[in-house]
C-alpha cells in the first residue's frame, strides 16, 4: 500500500523538486548578478574610468557591509537603487510580457502592444510641450506618462471588447491602430516643441539613469503585487493557451482572466515606463528565453520570467553604464534583434504550449 502511494506520488515530487531547483538556481543567479553589478561603475572596482578616482573590491564590500567611506553614498544612493530599479522594471516587463503572450496566444506579443508605450510617450511629450508643472517636471512627467499609458490601454480595451467579451484579435489590431495614431501625435508634439525636446528625447530612449530610492519605493509595490497575481493565475494561463472555448469547457473563466491579466500587465508596464522610458525587448524576449529553459507551464514560467527579467535588465544596464555608453534600450535591442530572428527560425515556435 505504502509502496503504491509512493510510486503514484513520485512523478509529482520529481517535478516539484525540479521546479524548486530551477527557481533556486535563478535566485542564486540573481544574487550573484546583484553583487557583481554593484561592483560595476565609473569609480570601479569593475569598469572604472581611467584617470579618475577608484575604489577597490575590498572598499566596495566594506561599504556594503555598512562601513562608512567617502564614496558610500555613491554606492548606496546611486548604484544600489539603480540595480533595484533595473531588477523591478525587468521583472515587471518580463512578467507582463509573459501574460500578454498567454492572453493573445501570440509569441510576438510584448507588454507594449496594448498601447502602453505610445500612451506614455504622449503623456511625457505633453509635459514638456505645455510646460506642465514647470520645475516640478520631475514629478509631473512620470505621473502624466503613467496616466497617458493607462488611459490608452483603457481605450484600446474598450475598442477590443464587445458586450463584455474580450476579442483578442480586435484588441491586438486596436492596439496597433491606436499606437500608430498616438505615435503621429507624439511626432507632431516633438516637431512643435523645439527647445524642450531634449528632455523628452532622453526619456524616449529609455534609461535607468533617473533611479533613486523614491522611484524604487514607488515601483516596488505594483511590480511585486502584479507579479504575485500573475503567478497565482498560472494554472488558468496554462488552460487559456488551449483556446478560450477549451478553457471555458474545462471550468476556467477566460473572460475575467483576460481582463485581469490586461489590467495587471498594463499597470506594471505603465509604472515601469513612467520612470524609465521605453525599454524594449525585455518583455518580448525574457519569457521566450525562460520558456526554452523551464518549459511553458506558467506556474513555473511566471516566477522564472520575473527572476530572469530582473537578471537580464540588471546586466544590460550594467553594460550600458560602464563598458559602452549606449542607452540601455539599445543594448536590449542589440541582443534582442538577433535573438528574435533565431526564435522565428526555431522549431519551438510551431509547438505553442509545449
Amino acid at each position: 500500500m505504502k509502496q503504491e502511494n509512493a510510486e503514484r506520488a513520485d512523478p509529482f515530487v520529481r517535478i516539484k523538486r525540479r521546479r524548486a531547483l530551477y527557481l533556486l538556481a535563478l535566485l542564486v543567479l540573481l544574487a550573484g548578478t546583484v553583487f557583481i553589478c554593484i561592483l560595476i561603475g565609473e569609480i570601479g572596482p569593475i569598469g572604472a574610468i581611467p584617470g579618475g578616482d577608484h575604489i577597490s573590491i575590498g572598499d566596495a564590500v566594506n561599504i556594503l557591509l555598512g562601513e562608512s567611506h567617502q564614496y558610500s553614498n555613491i554606492i548606496w544612493n546611486i548604484r544600489v537603487p539603480r540595480i533595484f530599479l533595473a531588477g523591478f522594471v525587468g521583472a515587471g516587463l518580463a512578467a507582463a510580457g509573459m501574460a500578454m503572450q498567454a492572453v493573445f496566444r501570440n509569441s510576438m506579443a510584448d507588454p507594449f502592444i496594448i498601447g502602453v508605450s505610445s500612451g506614455a510617450a504622449v503623456g511625457a511629450a505633453a509635459v514638456s510641450l505645455f510646460g506642465i508643472g514647470g520645475m516640478f517636471m520631475l514629478f509631473t512627467q512620470p505621473i502624466l506618462a503613467f496616466v497617458g499609458a493607462l488611459v490608452t490601454v483603457f481605450v484600446v480595451y474598450r475598442l477590443g471588447t464587445i458586450k463584455g467579451h474580450v476579442y483578442v484579435d480586435t484588441l491586438l489590431l486596436s492596439g496597433v491602430a491606436v499606437a500608430a495614431f498616438l505615435g503621429a501625435i507624439t511626432s507632431f508634439m516633438i516637431y512643435v516643441q523645439q527647445q524642450q525636446f531634449h528632455q523628452l528625447a532622453h526619456w524616449l530612449l529609455g534609461s535607468l539613469q533617473s533611479a533613486s530610492w523614491t522611484e524604487v519605493e514607488i515601483i516596488a509595490l505594483p511590480i511585486i503585487a502584479g507579479g504575485i497575481v500573475i503567478y497565482l493565475y498560472g494554472r488558468e494561463l496554462n488552460v487559456l493557451l488551449l483556446g478560450e472555448e477549451a478553457a471555458h469547457n474545462l471550468g476556467g473563466n477566460p473572460e475575467s482572466l483576460k481582463k485581469i491579466m490586461l489590467a495587471v500587465a498594463a499597470i506594471m508596464t505603465s509604472v515601469a515606463v513612467a520612470f524609465t522610458g521605453i525599454i524594449g525587448f525585455v518583455g518580448l524576449m525574457v519569457p521566450h528565453m525562460m520558456r526554452l529553459i523551464v518549459g511553458s507551464d506558467h506556474r513555473l514560467l511566471a516566477p522564472a520570467s520575473i527572476l530572469g527579467g530582473a537578471i537580464f535588465l540588471i546586466w544590460a544596464d550594467a553594460i550600458s553604464r560602464s563598458f559602452v555608453s549606449l542607452p540601455v534600450g539599445v543594448i536590449t535591442a542589440l541582443f534582442g534583434g538577433p535573438f528574435f530572428l533565431f526564435l522565428l527560425r526555431s522549431r519551438r515556435l510551431r509547438g505553442e504550449g509545449k
Binding site: G41, E42, I43, I49, G51, G52, D53, Y71, N73, I74, N77, I78, R79, G134, M135, M137, L138, F139, I143, F146, V192, Q194, Q195, Q196, H198, Q199, H202, S207, Q209, S210, A211, S212, W213, T214, E215, E217, I218, I219, A220, L221, P222, A225, G226, V229, L232, R235, E236, V239, L250, G251, G252, N253, S256, L257, K259, I260, A263, V264, I267, S325
Partner: protein, 315 residues
C-alpha cells in the same frame, strides 16, 4: 484531472486593490523622497535665482564648479572663473584651457564621477536631462540652469554667473563691452539708407533659423533680412522651392566638426543657381559655435555676419 479552481478573490476587487496600492505608493514614495531631501537645511549665505526661477542656496562662493554645457563653460571663462572649473562635459571645447579639464559625460552625465570630483556647484544649460541634475542635488550638490532666449537673457546670465562666482565686476564690464560692440554694429546697420539684403543662414543642410531664434535676431542686428523669419517655428526646415522663391542675396552656412556642406554643393542644389546669392557667388561660411552658443561669442558671430552682409560698412 483538472479540479474546479476556487477564485481567491473577485477579479475586480484585485484590480481595485492594485490601483489603490499604486496610488498610495506614488504618493507615499514622493512624500518620503521629499522629506529626506528637505532634511539637509543649513545656513546658506549665498542665495540666487537661476534662469528657471529656481532658488539656489550655496554655503558661499563656489570653489569647485562643474559645467555640463558648452555655453555656461564659455561664460565662466569669460568672467574669469575658469580656474574654479573642475569638470566639464565633452562638448565644452572653448577656450583652449578646456582641453585639460576632466570630462564628465556627454548626453548623460557620469554621476559617480561627478560626485568623486566633489563639486559645490553644477552649472547647466537647459538641454541636460533634469533627472540627472535632480539626482546630484539629492546627493548634496546644488545646480543652476542657464537658459537664454535673446540677447538680454545672455547679459543677465553672464551677470548672474559673475555674481555667483565673485567676479561681478568682470561680468558687468564684459556685458558693457558686449553692448558697446552690438551698438557699434547697429549704429551702422540701422542707419538711414542702409540696405537690408536677404540672407539665408543655414546651420544644417536645409535647416535655418526661424522667428524667435538667436540666429534670426543677429541677422536682423547685422543688417540683413532673414528669409527664415516668415516660417512658423524657431528652427524650421526649408525646401528648395522656398529658398529659390525667396531669392536670398547672401547665403551663409555654418561649419563645425561634422560639416559636409561647401559652396559647390550649395550651387548644385536644384534651382539655386537662379538665386542672387549663387549667381553672384555670395556664399560664405561662419563657425557654427558663434551662432549657436548663446554666450559671449554670439557677439563675435554678430560682427562676422555684419562684415559678410555689409562688407562696405565693416572693413
Amino acid at each position: 484531472m483538472v479540479t474546479e479552481r476556487k477564485q481567491v478573490m473577485s477579479p475586480a476587487v484585485i484590480v481595485v486593490i492594485i490601483v489603490v496600492a499604486v496610488a498610495a505608493a506614488f504618493g507615499g514614495g514622493f512624500a518620503i523622497g521629499s522629506i529626506t531631501s528637505a532634511s539637509n537645511q543649513q545656513h546658506h549665505p549665498l542665495t540666487f535665482v537661476d534662469d528657471y526661477n529656481r532658488t539656489v542656496s550655496l554655503e558661499g562662493y563656489p570653489q569647485r564648479i562643474i559645467s555640463v554645457a558648452p555655453t555656461p563653460t564659455e561664460m565662466l571663462f569669460a568672467v574669469g572663473a575658469g580656474d574654479l572649473i573642475v569638470g566639464i562635459d565633452m562638448w565644452s571645447d572653448y577656450p583652449a584651457q578646456t582641453k585639460n579639464i576632466t570630462k564628465v559625460g556627454d548626453f548623460e552625465l557620469n554621476l559617480e564621477q561627478i560626485i568623486t570630483l566633489k563639486p559645490d556647484l553644477i552649472v547647466s544649460g537647459d538641454l541636460v536631462p533634469q533627472t540627472d541634475l535632480a539626482i546630484l542635488e539629492s546627493n548634496g550638490i546644488p545646480y543652476m540652469i542657464i537658459a537664454d532666449r535673446n540677447l538680454n537673457d545672455v547679459y543677465r546670465s553672464i551677470q548672474l554667473i559673475g555674481n555667483v562666482t565673485d567676479h561681478a565686476t568682470n561680468a558687468s564690464l564684459l556685458v558693457k563691452s558686449m553692448k558697446e560692440r552690438v551698438g557699434a554694429v547697429t549704429n551702422k546697420t540701422f542707419a538711414i539708407g542702409v540696405s537690408h539684403p536677404k540672407v539665408y543662414l543655414e546651420y544644417w543642410p536645409m535647416f535655418t533659423f526661424g522667428p524667435g531664434s538667436f540666429g534670426d535676431d543677429i541677422i536682423r542686428l547685422a543688417g540683413g533680412a532673414n528669409i527664415g523669419s516668415i516660417k512658423d517655428t524657431e528652427y524650421p526646415s526649408v525646401t528648395d522651392e522656398f529658398v529659390v522663391s525667396q531669392n536670398p542675396d547672401i547665403i551663409v552656412y555654418t561649419t563645425g566638426p561634422s560639416t559636409t556642406t561647401n559652396p559647390t554643393e550649395i550651387e548644385a542644389r536644384p534651382g539655386w543657381n537662379q538665386t542672387n546669392a549663387v549667381s553672384q557667388s555670395k556664399i560664405y561660411s561662419i563657425d557654427d559655435n558663434l551662432v549657436s552658443r548663446y554666450g559671449p561669442r554670439i557677439i563675435d558671430g554678430l560682427e562676422q555676419l555684419a562684415a559678410i552682409i555689409h562688407p562696405d560698412l565693416f572693413t
